[in-house]
């Protein structure tokens, strides 16, 4: 087997040193009844060529986003990732290293994490950021838990504009810990209803902007209302590119900002691995879940970086830890940081503007399709449209024509009575011709 370097004679020599008669002798502690006599019922080993062919056949049964017009967003976005990003994260030294427990020989990973934290803090407009969580949805759930800990309150108000999957992930984590989640009714402009839900039990208000329907909201008033009630404001963003155009959570008064960082540096990959961004006010630092990288000096006084404040973490604090997270999204965070470094402020701003412009073109094209109503008043790069037919059926019909038309709301939030609403998204990868083809196909489909 090509990955196993020990030869039969190595094995014999090693057994001799150990003083064991056989490999079986090393497994004596296994109850005899549980010792498998031979291989389990799975195919035997295969060469690279054979495996590559089998995987290639599976891959060929999927329709890549890049194969034609494509308009899905709703929490995962197709962007162009520069080739150098993927090249760099495949370097052995980044790819095949562990969490940087020995900082003297992990400065590469640590310095990159310190850069990541600084970038995330700048983007969110908040002073402190951690070294990543699994994804945006788990970051959101962790934010709710942190708010509950920090405020010692036990209710979270979830805006009806929050991505339904995020709301479900919050509920799942919160309810077991006795934190109630009050999920407001889904609506394109759901944020308007948030303030009235805040009460004296409220640990935090969770608001997404751009929200799941694409609506961009200034949450300053919500922040004020939350703070007045002693609650924290958690601002969620699923499309990190929007930071390049929109007011940051911090500027609008957020206490905690969480985001899905996939858009920057990371491919779609059917939903994962992604990277959760997590930032907050300084006072909350010691409540932060997950790893933090900090600056220090070595014995010669040279600057260096280490994992720090680890007394928050499970390996030191065990059941009192701020979270159980251990392995997080290091390499995705690195991809984020490299792509962000390539973009820089100028590049990110321009990229965001191109996204916005393409979405406006898409809006214009769809608005012109008979029977289509654009629902989202102010959007970044995605918006909701109402169709005269169930959206899921339209999506399926267009998929047969080679056009992936977007995400039907029904797929996210079945009970919502929004079966005719479709979420569509445009990015810098959306060509003008894609938009034209989509509008044409949609016109045809709706005419039937």
């Amino acid at each position: 087997m090509r990955y196993l370097p020990l030869t039969p004679s190595d094995r014999a020599e090693m057994l001799a040193v150990i003083g064991a008669p056989s490999i079986d002798a090393l497994f004596v502690d296994v109850p005899p009844a549980a010792r498998l006599a031979g291989p389990v019922d799975l195919p035997p080993h295969q060469g690279e060529l054979e495996v590559e062919r089998a995987m290639g056949r599976l891959a060929a049964r999927n329709r890549p986003a890049g194969a034609g017009p494509f308009f899905c967003g709703a929490g995962a976005y197709r962007h162009h990732v520069p080739a150098s990003v993927d090249h760099l994260i495949q370097r052995s030294e980044f790819l095949t290293s562990y969490t940087p427990y020995q900082p003297e020989i992990a400065q590469g990973t640590l310095q990159a994490l310190f850069e990541f934290q600084t970038q995330v803090a700048s983007l969110t407009g908040l002073p402190v950021a951690n070294a990543s969580l699994y994804d945006g949805s788990t970051a959101c759930a962790e934010a709710v838990m942190m708010a509950a800990r920090a405020t010692r309150r036990s209710k979270a108000v979830l805006s009806g504009g929050l991505h339904p999957h995020y709301a479900e992930a919050c509920w799942t984590l919160a309810h077991t810990a006795g934190v109630a989640t009050q999920r407001l009714a889904a609506a394109v402009d759901a944020e308007a209803a948030v303030i009235e839900a805040i009460d004296a039990d409220t640990a935090c208000v969770v608001v997404q902007t751009p929200n799941v329907f694409g609506t961009v909201t200034d949450v300053s008033a919500i922040a004020e209302a939350a703070h007045a009630a002693g609650a924290l404001l958690v601002v969620v963003t699923t499309e990190a590119i929007s930071y390049g155009l929109l007011k940051s959570p911090g500027e609008m008064g957020a206490d905690i900002a969480v985001a899905e960082g996939q858009s920057i540096g990371n491919p779609l990959t059917f939903g994962g691995p992604y990277v959760g961004l997590f930032a907050c006010r300084e006072a909350l630092t010691r409540q932060i879940p997950g790893r933090l990288c900090g600056e220090t000096v070595d014995a010669e006084g040279k600057r260096g970086f280490v994992l720090t404040l680890s007394t928050r973490e499970q390996h030191i604090r065990r059941e009192k830890a701020t979270s159980n997270i251990c392995t997080n999204s290091g390499l995705c965070a690195l991809a984020f940081t490299i792509h962000m470094t390539l973009l820089g402020e100028a590049g990110l701003r321009r990229l965001a503007m191109v996204n916005h412009a393409r979405a406006r073109l898409l809006q214009g094209a769809l608005a012109a399709v008979p029977g289509v109503e654009v629902l989202t008043p102010r959007f970044f790069n995605e918006l909701a449209v109402r169709l005269p037919k169930p959206a899921a059926a339209v999506v399926n019909a267009l998929a047969a024509d080679g056009i992936i038309a977007g995400v039907p709301v029904s797929r996210l939030d079945p009970g919502g009575g929004m079966d005719d609403v479709l979420l569509v998204c445009a990015t810098e990868t959306t060509a003008h011709v894609d938009i034209a083809d989509f509008a044409e196909a949609l016109t045809r489909e709706l005419a039937q």
Binding site: A34, L95, T109, K247, T327
Partner: protein
């Protein structure tokens, strides 16, 4: 001296006079590399983008006018910056990385290549299922392998790492108990458990009670029996455990657990030791996470991403969270919502369907090894660890000298008594020998723990080189060469780092 509770020093004990920095930043092939924020990139970019066709006037004052504060670098500068940084890392691809409990094995490049096929990397989690049949088939196939290897009837794929898998398992247990109206509040776990176990139990709303350990490093069955009761929801045991030992009485553990109406959660982080040779399903396990980034070789990437699918017993299967895949006549179908066949699901763990990128890598790895190769994996991993134990036991003190270990060998710091040298010092001195240190100060059950996991992908020559280095250090320690240890590392990109200073006044981001 600043030390953590576990006795681990956190700042260098030697003070070296602050020397003048060398002129220039490079020497030979090494470069001292500033942060991107110090590289003069305030008006650069490394991307070329078209002009936007329209502006953002429609957004009014929703638009950010303040400076964000992001430096940009041209592509050549960016590449150089991160290549230089990369060279400051140790990696499996450079030398043995015997970090116990972490299973730092070879990461085949075929897996990376497969994960990058556009048919896997460029598909959206919410595009129509008819357009991702290959992806669903792959998830189904991965589930089949995991179920067959563990002898368990079900698997929840979506957890994003081991700890997330633990949570998934405990939430399934909680849901199963609630479904039978049984609100138990306690989880039992041994002291040797990984920190994620108690942390997860707490997150899942349980109180953690510790189970004692026997002198030979296993669960104390009498203690377990005495603590089991109607309030115990689950027993969490790692097997092989974090001392690198197989829980000989695992059948008894599961029997007692089940007799008490509790569930048996097995931490499967160490599945590498038994894959293909022992099926946890045959041991009475109800739930076990599998770190795909350990046993199935998806790369650790300096701290993730991982993936932590959880295999489940029939009793727990109905409570598994969506999404999962079913194979039907017309093709594969993804069950995404907690309704219909998923009506009892305990909730949702994350936004989409888990770590597809890791599924591709893990399945590629499994198919490459096959049933024969995976069995060999366990055998070689165990062989290598016992070989290390045999070679080092003369000079070091094995924590549990009697009987074989599984995939890792645990030593304590008895052998360092009176030398003035700590486990940390030995670890740092190993860096000067060209190796990544073993795991130190874990598990907590032995003093100054040194946990060595060579894995099956180390050639004998490298294991010997490692053992030779440890033996050299042991001789030096006994000879009183304290400076070699206290000053270590001498040859790494940096000398020993001051963790106390970092924590005392945290600087968590760059400021101008």
């Amino acid at each position: 001296m600043t030390v953590l509770a576990v006795g681990r020093p956190t700042r260098p004990e030697i003070e070296i006079p602050n020397q003048a920095a060398p002129e220039g930043r490079g020497h030979g092939l090494a470069q001292d590399e500033p942060l991107i924020f110090e590289l003069d990139g305030w008006d650069k970019t490394g991307v070329d983008l078209p002009e936007a066709e329209l502006d953002a006037s429609d957004l009014g004052d929703l638009v950010r006018t303040s400076m964000i504060g992001l430096p940009g670098l041209s592509e050549p500068e960016t590449l150089r910056h991160y290549v230089r940084l990369s060279q400051k890392n140790h990696a499996i691809d450079l030398a043995m990385y015997p970090l116990g409990s972490c299973t730092m094995k070879h990461n085949p490049r075929l897996n990376e290549k497969m994960a990058r096929l556009p048919g896997f990397a460029d598909i959206h989690p919410l595009q129509p299922q008819s357009t991702v049949q290959g992806a669903l088939a792959l998830m189904d196939e991965l589930a089949h392998w995991l179920k067959t290897l563990t002898g368990m009837p079900a698997v929840a794929l979506s957890p994003k790492a081991g700890a997330h898998g633990e949570l998934c398992g405990l939430l399934a247990i909680r849901a199963a108990l609630e479904a039978r109206g049984d609100a138990r509040r306690t989880v039992l776990a041994p002291v040797s458990a990984h920190g994620t176990n108690p942390a997860t139990a707490a997150m899942a709303g349980y109180q953690v009670v510790e189970i004692a350990q026997t002198d030979d490093g296993r669960v104390d069955i009498a203690d377990l029996a005495s603590k089991l009761g109607p309030n115990v929801a689950a027993v969490m045991v790692t097997n092989p455990n974090t001392c690198g030992l197989f829980e000989r009485d695992v059948m008894e553990i599961s029997r007692l657990t089940h007799a008490a109406g509790a569930f048996f959660y097995c931490d499967g982080a160490n599945f590498n030791a038994i894959v293909g040779r022992v099926r946890p399903g045959d041991l009475g396990v109800d739930a076990m996470h599998i770190n795909l980034h350990k046993t199935f070789s998806t790369p650790h990437g300096g701290g993730g991403p991982g993936a932590g699918p959880v295999v489940l017993s029939a009793a727990l299967a109905p409570f598994a969270p969506a999404p999962w895949v079913v194979s039907e006549e017309e093709g594969w179908r993804l069950i995404e919502r907690n309704e219909g066949e998923a009506a009892q699901a305990f909730g949702r763990l994350c936004a989409f369907h888990g770590q597809m990128g890791m599924y591709v890598r893990a399945l590629t790895y499994m198919m490459s090894h096959g049933s024969d190769g995976l069995r060999q994996v366990a055998e070689d991993a165990v062989l290598a660890a016992n070989y290390v134990k045999a070679r080092l036991s003369g000079a070091l003190t094995a924590a549990f000298p009697d009987g074989p270990c599984m995939h890792e060998a645990l030593f304590d710091d008895t052998w360092l008594e009176d030398t003035g040298i700590s486990t940390l010092d030995v670890a740092k001195a190993l860096i000067d020998e060209g190796f990544h240190p073993m795991t130190m100060y874990f598990p907590l059950v032995v003093h100054g723990a040194m946990l060595i996991e060579p894995t099956e992908t180390e050639p004998k020559s490298e294991i010997d080189r490692f053992c030779d280095a440890v033996l050299r250090l042991a001789a030096a320690a006994k000879a009183g060469d304290v400076a070699r240890f206290k000053g270590a590392p001498f040859t790494a990109p940096l000398r020993r780092l001051d963790e106390t200073a970092a924590a005392r006044k945290p600087r968590l981001k760059w400021t101008a």
